[in-house]
Amino acid sequence: MGTDHIVLTVPARGEYAKTVRVTVAELASRLGMSYDGVDDMRLAAEEAFVFACERAGEDGEVTFELEVAEDTLVLSVGPLPDACPSPGDEFSESYASFILHAVCDEFGIEHGEHSCTLRLVKRADAVAGDARA
């Protein structure tokens, strides 16, 4: 199995959190991730989405790029405006980092010239590999 790319763009509004959660959960489940792993990814997708919505603003959009490899799900969220005009934004960034570090195997915020992108990596637990769809 090579790497499949899926791109999902949704309005930056809370009502789309479910769309994001379900899509990410479905892809995580395809990799044969355990319930624990799938639920971690749902939580991660939601945290990343909330963080992205704060940056993208009410009329903005949030793009999720998902790379589905044999046993790894890579989720990129962005590009998002990189401006940190107030301490509140810095706080929101460190809070999101704290949560996302805990639930993903890898997490980072890549800063471009005027934008930033969240990158989350989660690997399927080997034990549930037989259940791969």
Partner: protein, 268 residues
């Protein structure tokens, strides 16, 4: 809460540039209202602090409710705060009013949560999924895959994923006041958070963390601690606290929501 122009996040600036109130005028108006029952003073106070309501309501804007409705709900909180504010206490009105307004907004969402009608089929499915996760975990000695859960109860993986979403829709509220018998009633995360801790580096102010944690029940704090500080998986937490994994999942999501709202709001 510290309200200073420099610390107001972008969203608030866009909506209302001025988030600093005239303290002297506030005191005068309260004095008029308290001593003479002057309704005009009360009205002026409401108008004066409407931008606090708008700002706090905007923090909930991503939940699918029109912001205008949220401002109305928040205004009820503001009026309650004005009527109850004890001017003899040395506390700023904004400090007193913020939790009241946020509380009113939360109650609104909570009441709406109750109103969500989940079809019986989905309720039953969610119940079965919940049970099967625990049974399979015990049998396999690991967290089962979604496919394994689906096979076990004879449904599709889509059904299982839908059930995970459903369980949050109608169980979120019922968790309030629910306690396990494992002694976590007395659990307080603050006892475990050291000054050099990762979360302290994020929050950097113990008072702020303390006030945000007030909104979490001991069991919620315990789950939060085990997942994010101890790095336990949901399966391990469920076993330790003798609750179902779905409950762990819901508790985690709830605690994160509460922290997100309160920590960010406190940061204003």
């Amino acid at each position: 809460m510290r309200l200073r122009e420099t610390r107001v996040p972008r969203a608030a600036k866009k909506q209302e540039r001025r988030l600093v109130w005239d303290k002297q005028r506030t005191r005068e108006l309260f004095a008029h209202y308290r001593e003479h029952g002057d309704e005009e003073s009360r009205d002026e106070l409401i108008t004066m602090y409407l931008n606090l309501v708008k700002y706090l309501a905007s923090r909930f804007r991503n939940r699918g409710e029109p912001v205008d409705d949220l401002v109305q709900v928040g205004t009820i909180g503001l009026i309650k705060a004005i009527d109850r504010f004890d001017t003899s206490r040395e506390v700023e009105f904004t400090t007193y009013a913020t939790p009241t307004i946020v509380g009113e907004l939360k109650r609104y969402f909570r009441d709406k949560g109750w109103a969500i009608k989940v079809p019986r089929r989905l309720q039953e499915l969610s119940f079965k999924v919940n049970q099967s996760i625990d049974q399979l975990t015990q049998r396999l000695q690991r967290s089962p895959s979604i496919q394994e859960i689906a096979d076990y109860i004879g449904v599709t993986t889509e059904d299982v994923l839908e059930a995970l979403e459903t369980s949050e829709a109608y169980n979120f509220v019922s968790l309030e006041g629910e306690r396990s018998s494992d002694g976590s009633e007395s659990f307080s995360i603050l006892e475990y958070v050291g000054e050099d801790d990762q979360l302290m580096a994020v929050v950097d102010d113990r008072t702020m963390l303390n006030s945000a944690l007030k909104y979490l029940a001991p069991q919620e704090q315990h789950v939060l601690y085990l997942r994010f500080f101890q790095g336990l998986t949901q399966t391990e937490i469920a076993a330790q606290l003798e609750i179902s994994q779905m409950q762990v999942s819901r508790l985690l999501r709830k605690t994160l929501k509460v922290l997100r709202e309160h920590l960010v709001t406190e940061e204003v």
